[in-house]
Subunit: 257 residues, 2 copies
């Protein structure tokens, strides 16, 4: 079990309604992005969710914590991170979500039969959520290979991830992505002819700031047009406090829509 | 002169700093969209602007009214609308902008030598602004052919308009577009490899409403990433009054940025 040997932290989310073991130094550490992504799934959602590139499981856990009728499969390529997710599910404080969760070690970019064999069957999910690596290869490299793998976006990656999402979600099912605004063109191109009825929500640190993230939600096979929704604003014009809406989302008290 | 025979109105813009003759019933009637588009050009801009699909000239006139060192060429396919623009330039109240304006009757979708011959020389502008037709062919058709031509977006139109913009603007020059959010994917695809450093500004009727327009500004040949700026919000949560920022933009008292 790699995580026994790996320095880690135990973090409370949703005001203690679930806990997450995360490597202290290696890999991707989850926080607000994962909570915002999870908030796209509606409160009363009762289907099967795939969390692509789940890492230690923050987003998938957050969906299960708020959406008490949903089940989820956490799909993660790194053995180290998947092991953290499994260990978190074994914590007694996560019992109510653990019975609805499963961890699968698989590479999201797999295709065809290899993807199915890895546990990602076609048309088998009602909702797919993803927080793909989003640092450009030209950004400052991290010396930690697990963290680098979790953070660095490679050429054509959005296309590969969205192709997998389109394959595994049922027609009429949904996809939610959190990404940097600078990936918007690549994302919209990959979504074309696969997902429609797109809703983009800018995520701004403050009312006067440009967005640092975008949420895109789409429906498999829909031909409806794109909507650009009002921004989710995390903080006020000054100060460190979260806005009322951001607080509710961070703590799993309300969905984004 | 077709406009002599065409019922028309004389409308004041920028608190009377310029006036516009517009057909009362035929063609596209300009208003807030044109003022928002024009506001993208910086106050101190002193170069040559092309207004593609200028209609009666509202956006181009608004740039010249606020940017007193700029000059503009209004490019319009419809003889009727171009004639309105010329007649407006001949009004004594438009004298200060008329000496910096020119009207060219040409189809924005022309290519190669035909485009140059029509008066749209390559690399000859510092700024291009455009408010392309944006109703989908499936929207309710208008019985007026001049209005239909001004309003209905045809297949591949964004690509054709942006191709022309990329040809006629100098490297390092700028492009500003106002469009519907639903055209975002098509616009971003056409802008790729031509314009970079994109800034998208959502235009929302109210703080709680989805955007009804987007402004996209880009720089020819730039490789900078995309920015999603805070929305321009036209009205308050209730009521008909314009916000302070929208009032300033409507009246040519400040630029968008």
């Amino acid at each position: 079990m790699p995580s026994s040997d790996t320095p880690h932290t135990l973090d409370a989310f949703h005001r203690g309604r679930f806990h997450l073991l995360q490597p202290a130094l290696k890999g991707h550490r989850s926080g607000v992005d994962a909570m915002v992504l999870a908030s796209v799934v509606p409160n009363d959602f009762s289907g099967r969710v795939a969390d692509l590139g789940a890492g230690a499981g923050a987003a998938g856990f957050a969906v299960l914590s708020r959406c008490t009728k949903a089940s989820a499969v956490l799909i993660e390529r790194s053995d180290l991170m998947a092991d953290f997710a499994r260990k978190s599910l074994a914590l007694p404080e996560n019992k109510s979500i653990a019975e609805r969760a499963e961890v699968v070690v698989a590479d999201v970019t797999l295709t065809g039969k290899a993807r199915g064999a890895a546990g990602l069957a076609d048309n088998s999910f009602d909702y797919v959520i993803m927080n793909p690596p989003f640092n450009l290869p030209t950004d400052r490299a991290t010396p930690d290979p697990v963290k680098a793998e979790a953070h660095v976006m490679t050429d054509g990656m959005m296309e590969q991830w969205i192709r997998t999402a389109a394959a595994i979600v049922k027609p009429g099912g949904s996809l939610a992505i959190i990404a940097r605004p600078t990936s918007m063109a690549e994302l919209l191109e990959a979504l074309q002819r696969r997902f429609g009825g797109l809703v983009i929500v800018p995520v701004q640190p403050r009312p006067q700031d440009a967005a640092i993230r975008i949420i895109i939600r789409g429906i498999r096979g829909s031909r409806a047009g794109l909507t650009l929704a009002p921004a989710l604003i995390m903080h006020g014009e000054t100060g460190n406090g979260f806005t009322e809406r951001a607080t509710a989302i961070n703590n799993g008290l309300s969905g984004l829509f």
